[in-house]
């Protein structure tokens, strides 16, 4: 603010003070409800962070258009955590002690959720987190809630779909290769996959990880091919998802099922970049146009989201993370309305006991704060031609294999014959 405006500013401040003094009693209820969080706007996960932020802002505008929550307008206080966990304790203490927000929610991803946990536990706050993997297994905090539909035992439930689909193959698969990036999510997914390998009595012929900044993935794919596995389960982040998919095509990987836990193809950027290379690959998705009818509210959201996302240059499809970011806020909204206030203990109790209607369907929480029912879908891509983004809005490209209530088809195996 320049000096020129200072008197005007002071005048306005004095005015505001006067008004608030006169109306103090009545004004209290009219004070905005402030919700604070850190969200990655720069750094490795900034793309996802920005998409989530847009969704949350859409929710805020929707709520305010309806007159707010309990008569209070909703305001956000939001900082950039730079995808750097060490900024998180500072940001959240600032939110709570300086900005004095009424509620906090998490940023995107395990790495920035976990560092906020001790603070939440000390202050006994309800903490809704956005796509954290199994964060609460160590903290065991009863006011923690998580919006990713991974199920009560995230590690195991996350990979269940791939192996359930594999079990339907005829003849039954015998051997499996597990491979993933050296990072928190892939390691967790592989841990879960090992459980299924044991459960199904498969032979584990390859079980290794690679650094996520690898340039050439073909030696890895060849080493996997040398073990001739029936199944190849891959858990990866966007850049290495692209690298592994390319390498599999270049080396001509021959296996019956390939994929499972690739982060990246859920977003439009990688869908368009890889295009037909995705044909035949198994993966997980939170939404598919084929089962749009089972997500009756999502269309409303996507209509709002896609218009804004295109303008701001973030994920233009919004099938994956954005609806969940919106749903996270819906859960909080309903809990506040249900308890009639911000008492953290009552909120937590309400959230444990009730289920919530959101844009991603009915949500209810298990005792550890994860979804009571896993709902991530295992899918297979196919019929993709060219690299244009619009085709992904049509049905037919994403076949849902699991869970059964969403199933639209069966596995097309082997992978190398469905790749073309």
């Amino acid at each position: 603010m320049s000096i020129k405006y200072l008197p005007c500013f002071i005048g306005r401040m004095l005015g505001a003070l006067l008004v608030s003094l006169v109306l103090s009693g009545a004004a209290l209820a009219q004070q905005p409800l402030r919700i604070g969080f850190g969200m990655s706007q720069t750094g490795a996960l900034a793309g996802n962070g920005k998409a989530a932020l847009i969704s949350m802002e859409i929710w805020r505008d929707d709520v305010n258009a309806r007159g707010g929550i309990l008569g209070r307008k909703v305001e956000f206080v939001q900082y950039d955590d730079q995808t750097n966990p060490s900024t998180v304790p500072g940001l959240y203490t600032k939110l709570l002690d300086v900005d004095k927000v009424d509620l906090v929610v998490s940023g995107y991803g395990t790495a920035v959720i976990a560092p906020a946990m001790p603070l939440m536990m000390q202050r006994k706050l309800v903490f809704m987190s956005l796509f954290g993997l199994n964060v609460n297994s160590k903290f065991k905090y009863d006011r923690y809630f998580q919006i990713m539909p991974a199920g009560p035992d995230p590690a195991v439930d996350w990979t269940r779909g791939f192996f359930e689909a594999a079990a339907t193959l005829n003849p039954k698969p015998q051997s499996v290769a597990l491979v993933g990036a050296d990072a928190e999510y892939p390691h967790l997914a592989l841990e879960g996959a090992r459980e299924h390998v044991k459960r199904l009595g498969l032979k584990l012929v390859y079980d290794k990880t690679y650094p996520p900044n690898t340039v050439d993935y073909s030696p890895i794919v060849r080493a996997i091919q040398a073990t001739n596995p029936d199944l190849v389960y891959l858990a990866s982040y966007p850049p290495d998802s692209a690298g592994m998919v390319r390498a599999a095509s270049e080396v001509g990987l021959k296996t019956r099922m390939f994929g499972g836990g690739l982060v990246g193809p859920q977003f439009a950027a990688l869908k368009t970049q890889l295009g037909p290379l995705l044909n035949g690959i198994i993966n997980y998705e939170a939404y598919a146009p084929d089962v749009g009818a089972k997500f009756p509210f999502l269309d409303q959201f996507l209509a709002k989201y896609q218009a804004r996302a295109a303008k701001e240059g973030v994920d233009p499809l919004g099938f994956y993370l954005p609806p969940y970011a919106y749903a996270m806020m819906q859960v909080l909204e309903q809990a506040i309305k249900g308890t009639g206030g911000l008492d953290q203990g009552k909120l937590a109790e309400y959230m444990h006991k009730n289920s919530f209607d959101t844009f991603v369907g009915k949500v209810s929480f298990a005792s550890n704060g994860e979804w009571a029912q896993p709902r991530m879908m295992t899918v297979q891509y196919g019929g993709i031609a060219g690299n244009d983004v619009a085709q992904w809005k049509k049905s037919g490209l994403i076949t849902v294999l699991y869970p059964n209530e969403y199933k639209t088809g069966t596995v097309r195996a082997p992978y190398h014959e469905n790749r073309k």
């Binding site: 490795a44 793309g47 690679y210 390319r246 001509g252 970049q273």
Partner: protein, 291 residues
């Protein structure tokens, strides 16, 4: 070919292809750091700048990224010349190049990175080329064009640079400048001018290497940092100031990476590569082909 032999042969091919790419990334550093004693830690930032320029031309006009980068390399040459002039005036002239020069390039690295973030955003970008998704097969050997094309152009560039430096007056002046600037002055050559051009040449190679990078893998502004270690490792491993050494160092690292990935576990690849570098520094500091 039985499967183990094929695996082995493919590991060699993959290592060499990767090494060719690493050579293109590092040859500029070999000139600036190895020959001119300019610790240009921002080299990867210029590589990324090259990537994004190639990406833009590819995305908007559908041009081949590598062809674009070769045509636009004079632009990088000019950029390099300008940068060296600033560096010379601010640091070399005052005799403070070692530490402050380094910090200067660190700053340049960040500024370039942020500029790229502001212009292109933080999403991964990749170029589209006709050959990227094709693979040429010879018996059991795979030659993915995505790596072969950059490899070939890189070899042309590196060998061309070596011939240029060893067979022209300018080249010999560059080789001499690091050792004895005074003697050059007596020969009637302005060492500052020689260093400026040589540095400009090194930045021009960064532009071309940037196009290779975006042909090979998706690119995001912050990944430049991941290559700082690699380019200097290649340079020191092969031997400071030797282009053949850089080529050898690049192949050694490429092969080490592909063999570790194939036979031991890809997770250990960086430790093997950089362990190799540490061992070289401890026991043969002049590098494999050091003078």
């Amino acid at each position: 070919m039985d499967s183990t032999t094929a695996l082995f042969a493919n590991a060699i091919v993959a290592g060499l292809l990767l090494g060719g790419f690493y050579a293109a990334m590092s040859v500029g550093v070999s000139i600036s750091f190895g020959m001119l004693d300019v610790v240009n830690i921002a080299h990867p930032a210029f590589i990324l700048l090259g990537s994004y320029i190639a990406y833009t031309m590819n995305d908007r006009l559908g041009l081949d990224p590598i062809a674009v980068s070769v045509v636009l390399s004079p632009l990088f040459f000019v950029l390099g010349a300008g940068l060296y002039r600033v560096y010379y005036l601010c640091f070399e002239q005052r005799g403070q190049e070692s530490l402050r020069g380094l910090a200067f390039f660190f700053g340049i690295l960040f500024i370039t990175e942020v500029m790229l973030v502001l212009v292109f955003g933080v999403d991964y970008r990749m170029s589209k080329t006709a050959y990227a998704d094709t693979t040429w097969r010879l018996d059991a050997l795979d030659f993915p064009m995505r790596l072969v094309v950059p490899f070939l152009v890189s070899m042309l560039m590196v060998v061309g640079l070596q011939l240029f430096l060893s067979h022209t007056f300018f080249g010999r002046a560059v080789l001499a400048v690091a050792q004895d600037p005074l003697a050059l002055r007596l020969m009637g050559v302005n060492p500052i001018r020689v260093k400026e051009r040589a540095f400009a040449l090194s930045i021009a190679t960064a532009g071309v290497a940037g196009a290779f990078l975006i042909v090979i893998q998706p690119v995001q502004p912050a990944i430049g940092r991941e290559y700082i270690g690699l380019v200097f490792a290649v340079c020191v491993l092969g031997g400071m100031g030797s282009i053949w050494g850089t080529l050898l160092g690049a192949f050694v690292l490429g092969l080490a990476e592909s063999f570790t990935s194939t036979f031991f576990g890809p997770s250990w690849a960086p430790a093997v590569s950089f362990g190799l570098l540490l061992a070289t520094l401890a026991f043969r500091p002049a590098g494999l082909l050091g003078r």
